[in-house]
């Protein structure tokens, strides 16, 4: 978690895809909760992750609001892409869900997070094309980074 936070703050916060889109990969930390986990716990965890990001990136409220919403939607998103025969306490990963389903899960989670994040950041409908670029670009970039990390970093199990 500390590593991901450092990666986000030191490197990714300075990456501006298509000039406007900055990937916020730290949202990934709210997506790893096992199926059937306590929803209140998940919400508090999401809020804490968002707060941590906001404090270090000077974006008070943006990360908190987006990460809490993602934590609220996580069980729903997970249920959409969980295989029928999956265990009740399945932890979402490429191994447990399969590459195709897991990719879709990560993509829609990241997209949802970046849509809320950049909608609150822009806070206006003027210049909406720039906001759309930021939402799509940031979400896509974060999706690629998470998938890449899942493939490259070896799992213990």
């Amino acid at each position: 978690m500390v590593l991901l936070l450092l990666l986000q703050l030191i490197i990714l916060n300075h990456v501006h895809v298509f000039t406007y889109a900055t990937p916020v990969v730290i949202a990934y930390l709210t997506m790893n909760f096992q199926r059937g986990a306590s929803r209140v716990g998940l919400l508090l965890w999401g809020f804490a992750i968002g707060l941590l990001y906001d404090v270090f990136s000077n974006t008070m409220g943006l990360g908190m609001c987006s990460a809490t919403l993602l934590a609220m939607m996580q069980p729903f998103l997970l249920s959409l892409f969980t295989p029928r025969d999956a265990a009740d306490d399945m932890v979402p990963s490429m191994h447990s869900m399969g590459a195709h389903r897991y990719s879709l899960y990560v993509f829609f989670s990241m997209l949802l997070f970046h849509i809320v994040f950049y909608a609150l950041d822009a806070f206006t409908l003027s210049n909406w094309t720039l906001t759309l670029i930021a939402m799509g670009g940031g979400g896509l970039m974060a999706f690629i980074i998470v998938l890449f990390a899942q493939i490259v970093i070896p799992k213990d199990d």
């Binding site: 409220g61 908190m64 609001c65 822009a122 210049n127 720039l130």
Partner: protein, 286 residues
């Protein structure tokens, strides 16, 4: 009662979710000037008070650097005053010159203010200053500091105003090169808070690195000749038809505290004259 407790227990996560989102939104409005500006127009006293408190503390910490700038500016003004006095004395007999001096002094009135909140790394950065309509500040007035141009007043309430600084993608300030006199429009492109861009400089213009960029006085928001920055790099524009200049801004927005707002009294008169000219031209056309 039991049913109620069961209901709350079952839906506790909804309550927690709503509570956390409300806390997040309050933080968003409180600590972000842009999002807060929406809130600001209706509840300026409360938000302004909070900004003021945090700004009072941080301004003490930055006084050293600010003092150095003020001293430097005082020195420069003193030497300019001496030079002007000398010139005035030489030309005392020439009444036209004295009149021009008078006009220059009375045309623009400055009101001092302090920046109490600002952002640097957003697409739409905004500054909040502690002077408002009560002090004669109105939207579209120019804001400068000892180093150069800061921005244009966007919204005012009774005690506070919001300024669109140069570091805002929707800010456009018409400017010119000090030596070659070619003019263009300055627009920030997000990212580095020290760098902005001047577009539409014709290809035949000879612009050198290090040349000063200053206001050209066309807009009547800023008097001509206020420094904005110096040319850092000369590049081709995306369509290749003109030059795009990378300009290093003189104003250090990271430590900006004291600013002055230019209260321009000639604007209504000039606007009325321009409108009259327009209507006359239409009559001639008809």
């Amino acid at each position: 009662m039991r049913n109620l407790i069961d209901f709350i227990q079952k839906n506790l996560y909804w309550l927690v979710f709503l509570f956390l989102e409300v806390v997040s939104l309050i933080s968003l409005f409180k600590y972000n000037s842009y999002q807060g500006s929406v809130y600001f127009t209706t509840a300026n006293q409360m938000v302004g008070g909070a900004y003021r408190l945090t700004s009072d503390v941080s301004s003490y910490l930055k006084l050293g650097k600010e003092n150095a700038y003020l001293e430097q500016e005082n020195e420069q003004l003193r030497s300019e005053l001496l030079a002007l006095k000398k010139k005035l004395r030489k030309r005392q007999g020439n009444s036209t010159f004295v009149n021009i001096q008078d006009t220059m002094l009375t045309d623009y009135k400055f009101v001092g203010a302090q920046v109490i909140s600002s952002t640097l790394h957003r697409t739409n950065n905004l500054l909040t200053i502690d002077k408002g309509s009560k002090d004669g500040i109105r939207p579209e007035m120019g804001v400068v500091c000892s180093q150069g141009v800061v921005g244009i007043v966007y919204l005012t309430s009774r005690n506070y105003s919001i300024v669109i600084p140069l570091l805002n993608t929707s800010s456009q300030i018409s400017c010119r090169m000090k030596n070659s006199q070619f003019f263009g429009t300055m627009q920030w492109q997000r990212g580095d808070p020290d760098i902005s861009y001047v577009n539409d400089i014709p290809r035949h213009a000879k612009v050198e690195v290090g040349e000063i960029v200053e206001t050209n006085g066309y807009s009547d928001i800023f008097p001509e000749g206020i420094p904005i920055g110096k040319v850092k790099k000369v590049k081709d524009s995306s369509d290749g038809m003109s030059y795009s200049l990378e300009v290093e801004l003189f104003t250090d927005f990271k430590t900006l505290r004291n600013v002055s707002i230019i209260t321009n009294y000639t604007k209504p008169e000039r606007k009325a004259l321009e409108e009259k000219a327009d209507s006359l031209m239409q009559t001639v056309d008809d």
